[in-house]
Amino acid sequence: MAEVTADVRDEPAAEPTSNRFMRWLFAPVPLGRVAALRTLVYLFIVFDVLVYTETATNRVYVPTDLYVPLNVDEYLFPFIPDPSTAVVQICTWGLLILSPIAAIGIFPRLLGSAIFLLYFEWMLIFNSYGKVDHDRFAFLVALALLPTIGRARHGDSRLSEKAGWAFRVIQLSVIATYFLAAWAKFRFGGLEWLWGTSLTWAILRRGTEWSNWMLDHVWMIKTSQVGIIAFELFSPIIFFVNERIRPYIIGYFYLFHLFTWLAITISFAPHLVAMASFLALERFRPLHWAKRGLDRVTGRLRREPAPVTDAAG
């Protein structure tokens, strides 16, 4: 009788790259993280409309004759009206009313979609006067994708692939912002950007006491410029490092922006909010901790024995 010997392989067959990629793209994250990012993003919009991007709201006073529409306006959405007073007011008030409600987490798909549309139009208004801002791509992606997840409650530890995909794409958008910014420098500035005076230009126009001293030290300017390009080009490395190191790299990114803000008063606030998609936000639960702390205190008060009265008294 012939013996059938199994063909024992030493290693399991390698997983096809496409499978690995799909697993990575849809790597699930807990729903609690979704709730946390939603709260952060939608509350930020309130701050954005009232404070950070006040200029957009002031457009209500600016005649539409100064409006220079972008391609998206002209070719994709020709029915978008010029930013008359009414349009600006609708966007502003719509965002201010809907965002806090969405931050609580109710009607995430409906409110989230409405907010995305309003915010996008608001951005078109803001960016159609001769200058386009570049710190919102990842934030816009976050606004577009958060409504695709459905209901998510704070503290919910159930994993979701829908959420995983949305977060992954937001993360990719954050890194794309850095990586492609380096490309833009080479495309519009050429290699000379590295040893030119771009940073001098920026500091002269927007410098602070943190950066003005650098104007007298050209070598510091050049070193900083090389450092910036290196930082941007190497940013995708975050997807290849150990998950445990990732928060430290993100911390480093946040530090970079802190220094940029101190040096030339440019903050990338919407981008920084989107960058939180890399972090385990579900672990940060201030309201929950406060409630637990309060419970502990009141619980202790309730457990204290009542003063003993003399029953014979």
Partner: protein, 143 residues
């Protein structure tokens, strides 16, 4: 929450489309292609001896007072003035819309009757500012 077959396909399709749009924007597009335009923050290189421009607006109101016409008054940012410079140069009367914006925002103040758009050029030598600057009048408008 698991994603079904269709959901997977739609999502992968969206991811690819977004990536394509953003790479197209960065390689061939421009600011007009917002939101997928190139990420050009401070992307132009400056020569070591090239002066730095600071675009400024000055306004004179009906009471004869002259003041710096800043973004808080006009609702328009400096970078936007620069982005629209060609339009202003081609038609200086376009500046009147800034006066209009000011009146809309501050109806109780005397209206602006004259606006000057100037550029202050800061001299740079070997990458260092010399402390000198010259002011260039670009366009002006009077009511």
């Amino acid at each position: 929450m698991d994603v079904g077959r269709l959901g997977r396909r739609v999502r992968v399709g969206f991811t690819i489309a977004l990536a394509a749009a953003v790479f197209y924007g960065s390689l061939w597009g421009d600011d007009d292609d917002f939101p997928v335009g190139p990420f050009r923050m401070y992307s132009t290189s400056r020569e070591l001896n090239e002066p730095v421009a600071d675009t400024q607006l000055y306004a004179v109101n009906a009471a004869g007072q002259e003041f710096r016409f800043t973004e808080g008054y006009t609702g328009v940012r400096r970078a936007e003035l620069e982005g629209q410079m060609e339009h202003f140069e081609a038609d200086p009367s376009r500046l009147r819309f800034l006066a209009e914006a000011y009146s809309n925002h501050f109806p109780d103040r005397p209206p602006v009757t004259e606006i000057r758009l100037v550029i202050e050029w800061f001299e740079i030598r070997n990458g260092l500012p010399t402390g000198e600057s010259t002011v260039e009048e670009v366009v002006s408008w009077q009511k």
